[in-house]
Point group: D2
Chain length 386, copies 4
C-alpha cells in the first residue's frame, strides 16, 4: 500500500516539465512506499499558460504566488524549478514550513546564499536534495561503482568538458522566461553555474574534493538585446570558463565549459586516469562508459598485454544500476530518466531515513568551488577552496 | 478540448508495459484531439498479478478474458500485446466489434492469417496499425526523409542485421510467459518473425519492395526444457536466419538475424548505398544517423573532394521529427519513446482521417516476405515474394 | 652475415610498387638470413617508363620479356605482379626454372588453372606464396592468435564485407594498364577475384573451410568504353557479389563485396561470433581489433556482468605481432607494411624450411570457393565446394 | 637527373631510425631534384652497435665524434637526432661549417639557447628545419587547409591533449640511451619539451600565437634509479603539465600532457571551435580529421539544419596532401611517413628557395611558450609570452 506524497512544483519551464514527468512516472517503474500526487503547479506565468501546463501534466491545482503554495497544508514537498536568484528565498520559506525540498542546481547564486539555505533545512530537519541529475545516468553510476571497487586505483588525472554551442549567434537575446540563463542578475553566472556545476559535482563525487583552482572566463558577445526591455545591454555572464584544479588526493584536473563550441550540443564528458585503470564518459553517448582496465583490483593481476584496450560498456543491461526498472536488456533510456531515478532515490531515502545525495550540504560544496573559480578568473590567481 | 479515447490493452508482459506507458504519456508531449483513458488491462495472468499491473499503470479495471473485454461498450480501442498465435482471433473479434486496433508485430503467424486479418479490419472499416515501432526512432524517420529528398539517389545496396545474444546458453528454457518467443507453436518462427520482421519493415519502407530471396536458417540448440511442461523438447524455431534479397528497384540486399551473436545486444542496423549518398543506422547508438553525402540532389553538385566523409548526425535537436515534442536540443530520448511517437501518429490519423502507417495491409506485406524466407530456407531455393 | 637473394619482379603497376618497396625495406626491420637484391624489373611498358621505374626503385636492370627474365641464371626469386590472366603461364615457367615464386592474388583465373600451378611448384619443389597480404595486418594476426587461444570458442557466425565505391561513375573505362580489373578477359571476375578472394582467405584462416555457398552477382553498369579500343563494350565482370555460406564447423557466413558502396573506400571487415567471445575488424581502421570477451578460455570464468563490453585493442604496441620490428609503442604502420611483413615471413620460411602461408595449395582452396560462388550466381542454386 | 645530397645523421636511437628511413625512401615517392645519400651515421655508441646500424640502414661510413662528421667536406646536410642538451653545440658548429641542418624537436633546452641557434643558422645562411613531424600527418595538413579556407571562421576555443602512459611504473629507470627523456639534465624538461612542444607547434600553426599562459606541472614519481649510475636519484622532469592559454586572436586554449594517462598511448589530440565550423584530430586514429561544418565560408550559407553533424574525413584518398605520392585511395600510411613527407618538403625547399617550415625561428617561438609554461608552473602566476 503506497502513501500519497503531495507535491507542489514551482516553475513551469524546461525543469518544471522534467520534474512533472518524473513525479508522474516514478511509481510506474520503482517499488516505493510513497506515491507522489501532483497537487499544484506554481509559476508567475499568465494564468492561461499555467492552466494549460496544469492540464497537460495533470496537476490538481495551480498557484501564481509561491508563498501561497508553501502555506498550503496539503503540500508535503516543494520542488524548485525556478531561476537561480529565487532559490534562496523559496528554500528558506519552505524549510520553515517543514516541507521536503528538491531544488534545481545550482543551489544558489553564491556559497554565502547556499550556506544560509543549508542552515535553514538543517535547522528545520527537512529532507533536501539538489538536482544534480547526471549522477543518475546509469553510466555515471557505473563509473562511481568502478571507482569504489578500486578499479581506477591511485588517481593521476581528471579532465572534464561541458560544451554546447547555442549562444554563438549575436541574435540570441538575454533574459526573459527562456533565456534568463544569459542574464547575470538572474542566473548569477553563465556556464560556471549552469554547466560546470554539473562537472564539479560529478568530479568531486568520483575523485574527492578539489583543493585549489586557477580559472579564466570569457564573454565573447559583449552585448545582447534584453528580452524584457528590448534594449541592448551588456552581457555580464561568462560565456565560457576554463580552469585547472588540484584535487586533495594529489591528482590534477582540467575543466572547460562553453556555449561557443560549434558542433558540441551536450558534450558533458569526463575522463579519470588512475594507476589501475581509466574511465571516460560523454553525455552525447550516454549509453556507454568506456573503461580501460590495466589491472584487477582484487588480485592485482595485470590484464594480459595483448588484450589491453578501451572497453565500451553498453549500460543497457540489467546489471547496471536503474536499468532493471525499465524495459529489457539492450533498450536505451533517455535524458528524462535521470530525473525519475533521482526522485526514486529521494523517495527511497524518505522510506529508509538514509538521505539521498547530493543534499544541500553537498550542493554548498559545489557552490564554493564555483565561487573560487569566478574569484580566480577575476583576480587572475590560484584560489584555494574555502 | 480533448476527447477521451477508452483503451483496453491485452497482454501485460514487456509489450503490455510499453503500450501502457505510451498511453499514459502521449498527451504530455503531443497536442492531440484524443486523450487515451486506460480503461482496462486484460491478460491470462493470475488475478493478483493482473491487479498489481493495473494498479502500477493506473488502469481503471481488468479483465481475464479478452472476449469479455471486446464486448465492453466502454472500450474504443484494443491494443494487442499477446503472443503471436493469438493475434488473428483477437483482431477478427475486435474488428467485428468496431474497435480501433493496434497490434504488436509480427502481425500473424503467416501471410494467410494476416490476409484474413486485413480483410476483417478493412470490411469493418476500423483504424488499424501494426506496431513496427522502429519507424519512429528519430534517426530512422530522418533516414526516410533523406531518401524521400533524393539524397541516396539510385540505390545499389541494402544491408541489415538484427543481432542479439541472449539465447546462447543451453540453460535458457523455451515457452511460458517470458520465453514464448522460443516456442514455435506460440511464436510461429524464431528470429524471422521477431527480429527480421523489423528489418524487413524498415527495408521496404526505405527501399521499396523485395522481389525475391534465398535464405538459410539454423537452430543451434536443438532441444531445451519447456518452461510449462518441465520436459526437454525439440526446439523448432530458427535461432538464426540469413538471406539474400533482390529489390524490385534492382538493388541487392543482405539480411541476417541471430540471438547467438555474442556481444550484440540490440544490434539492429541497416546501410543503404546509393549513387548520391549512403545511410547507416545502429539501434545500439539510436541517437545517430550516419550519412555519406556524395552529391546534392537539388543541384547535382558533388561535395568538394577533400570534404567527403561519413557525417554522424546526432538527432537530438528540434529539427528532427518527434524531437521538438520532448526536452531541449541535445537531450536524448529512449526506446520507449518510439511507442509514444507511434501512438501519437495513430491518434493524429484518427483526427485527420489519414491513417498512420504501417497498417495491417503493410504488415501483411512483411508477413509475405517472412513466409518466403522460411520457405526458401526449407527448400534451399530462391523464392519470389507472392 | 646475410645472403643475397636475387629477385626479379614482373609488373610495375600498383603491386609492382608494393613489392619493390617490401624488397627494399625488409632488412631494415627484420633480422633475416636473406637479403633481397633488386636485380631486375620486367614489364611490357614502354622502355622509358620501365627505365624510370627501375631508377626510382633502384633495380639493377630491366627486362621487357618475362621469358627472358626467367631464363636468367642470376635470378633466384620471381614475384608476379601482373594481371590475373598471366599468372599461370609465368608460374609454370618459373617453377620449371627452379625459382622461388611469390604470386599476387587471386592465384589464377579458375581452380583448374590454380591446380596446374600447384602441381608445377610442387613438382619443382620451389618455395611459393600467394600474396594475401592482409593476413599480415597486425590486428588480423591478433585475431588469428585469439582464435587459436580459444577466445572465440564454438563459432556461430562469420560475416564479412569488402566494399569500395570507385566504379560508380559510368565514365570509368574498362581495360588497359590501370583498369584491367574491370575487363573480364584479363581479370577473370570482378569483385569476386579481386576483393572476396581476400575475404575468403581470411575467413577460412580464422574459421576453417566453407562447405557450401549460394551467391548472387550484379553488374550495375552494363557497358563501358574500353581503354584500349576506345569502343563501348559490354561489361562482363561482377560489379558486386553477395553470398551466404555454411562452414564445415557448422557456423553460418554472410559475405558481400561491391565497388558501388558509396562512401566505403576500403571497407574490408569481418566479424566472428562465438560462444566465448567475438571479434570485429575493419581495414579502414586497421590499428584496431575489437574484442568482446564473454569468458576466459583457460578458466571458463565469465567476465563480471557489469564489465562486459566491446574492447578496442589498439595494436600499435610491441606485444602484437610484427609491431616490435618498427618504431615505438603507439606508432601506427600502414598498408605497405603488410607486404614487408609477408616478405619477412617468406624469407624466414626459406631459412627455417617451414614454408610461409598461404602457399599455392592454400590459394587453390580460395580459388575453389570463388569458382563455387560464380557457379552459384550463374545457376541460382546452392553449390558445394569441391 | 637527380643531384646527390650527402647526409650525415647524428644519433642512432629511435629518431636516428626514423630519419634514416626517410632519407632512404623519399625518392621512391617524391619527384625531387635532390637525392639523399646516406653518407655517414655518427653516435657515441659502441663501435659494434654503430657498425650494425650503418649496415642495417646502408650508411657508407660511420663516425664516433660529431665534430669529425661536421668537418667532413663530403657532407652537405646534418640531421640531429641526439638528446636535447646536445642540439645547440652541434647546430652552431654545423652552421659554421655551412651544412643544411634538420634538428629534432624540441630545438633546445631553452629559448635562450634556441635564440643563439637561430642567429647561427641565419648568419651562416644555411637551410634549417625543426622536425615537428606531425605537421605532415595528412589529416593535420588538411586541418591547416580548412583553416586557411576560412572553414573554422572566428575561433573561440582550442583544446589539446598529448597523453601517454609509459612511465607509470616506479620500476622505469631514468637516464641512459633509451630513457634520457626522464633525465632533466639531458632532456631539459619532461612532457613539456617532449610532448607539449608538438601540441604548441600545431596550435600556433593552426590558430596563431599564444599570448599568455598559466600552468601547473607535477612529478608523480619523485625518485627513480638512474640507468647509468644505478643509484636512486630525484626525478626533476615534469611527469605531467597542464596549462590554460589565451591566444592573440582572443580564443581560449586548454592544453594537457602526461605520461600517466593510463590507456592513452599516443593520444595527441586537438579541437578547434569557431563560428563557422570545428575540427578534431586524434593521433591514435591518424587517418581521420573530424569536421563539423556550420556554414560555407564562400557563400555564408548554413548547412541545412537536419544535416548538421560531425563528419569523419578519411584522409586516405588522393585529394589529401601527400597521399597521392603513395599507394591507391583507401590505403593508410603510418607514423614514419610524416618524416618522409617532411624531408620531401625540406628538399623541395632547397630546390625552390622557399624554405620549408617550421624553421628554427619558428622552433624558437615554441621554445618561448615552453619557457613561459615552466616559469608559470614555478611561480604559480600567469605569464606573458616574451
Amino acid at each position: 500500500m503506497t502513501k500519497p506524497l503531495n507535491v507542489g512544483v514551482i516553475g513551469c519551464g524546461f525543469m518544471g516539465r522534467t520534474h512533472s514527468n518524473a513525479l508522474l512516472r516514478v511509481n510506474n517503474f520503482f517499488d516505493l512506499e510513497y506515491q507522489p500526487v501532483l497537487k499544484a503547479i506554481c509559476a508567475l506565468e499568465e494564468e492561461s499558460k499555467l492552466k494549460a501546463f496544469a492540464s497537460q501534466w495533470g496537476y490538481e491545482s495551480y498557484e501564481t504566488d509561491w508563498h501561497r503554495l508553501i502555506e498550503r497544508d496539503d503540500i508535503d514537498q516543494i520542488e524548485i524549478c525556478t531561476p537561480n536568484n529565487t532559490h534562496k528565498e523559496i528554500v528558506i520559506a519552505a524549510a520553515k514550513a517543514g516541507k521536503n525540498i528538491i531544488c534545481e542546481k545550482p543551489l544558489a547564486l553564491s556559497a554565502a546564499e547556499a550556506e544560509e539555505m543549508c542552515v535553514a533545512v538543517e535547522e528545520a530537519g527537512v529532507p533536501n536534495l539538489v538536482s544534480f541529475n547526471y549522477r543518475r545516468v546509469p553510466a555515471i553510476s557505473l563509473a562511481k561503482q568502478l571507482v569504489d571497487e578500486g578499479r581506477v586505483g591511485k588517481p593521476f588525472h581528471y579532465r572534464a568538458t561541458y560544451l554546447q554551442d547555442w549562444t554563438i549567434s549575436t541574435d540570441v537575446p538575454q533574459g526573459g522566461n527562456t533565456l534568463w540563463r544569459l542574464d547575470a542578475k538572474v542566473a548569477g553566472s553563465g556556464v560556471t553555474g549552469d554547466l560546470l556545476a554539473h562537472s564539479i559535482d560529478t568530479a568531486e563525487w568520483l575523485n574527492g574534493p578539489i583543493r585549489s583552482v586557477v580559472a579564466k572566463t570569457e564573454t565573447f558577445v559583449k552585448q545582447r538585446m534584453h528580452a524584457e526591455t528590448g534594449k541592448v545591454e551588456p552581457v555580464r555572464i561568462d560565456d565560457a570558463c576554463m580552469f585547472l584544479a588540484v584535487f586533495e588526493n594529489g591528482s590534477m584536473g582540467t575543466f572547460e565549459s562553453s556555449r561557443y563550441a560549434r558542433g558540441r550540443k551536450n558534450y558533458n564528458t569526463f575522463e579519470l586516469n588512475g594507476e589501475a585503470g581509466s574511465l571516460f564518459f560523454d553525455l552525447e553517448d550516454p549509453q556507454y562508459l568506456d573503461y580501460f582496465q590495466y589491472s584487477n583490483p582484487s588480485t592485482g593481476d595485470k590484464v594480459e598485454d595483448h588484450l589491453t584496450g578501451w572497453k565500451r560498456i553498453h549500460v543497457t543491461n540489467f546489471e547496471h544500476q536503474y536499468m532493471d526498472r525499465y524495459w529489457v536488456p539492450g533498450c536505451t533510456i533517455g535524458y528524462e530518466h535521470t530525473f525519475i531515478n533521482g526522485l526514486a532515490d529521494f523517495l527511497k531515502g524518505l522510506e529508509t531515513g538514509v538521505p539521498a545525495q547530493p543534499d544541500f550540504r553537498s550542493g554548498l560544496r559545489t557552490q564554493k568551488v564555483c565561487d573560487a573559480i569566478l574569484e580566480s578568473a577575476r583576480i587572475g590567481q590560484w584560489v584555494e577552496i574555502a
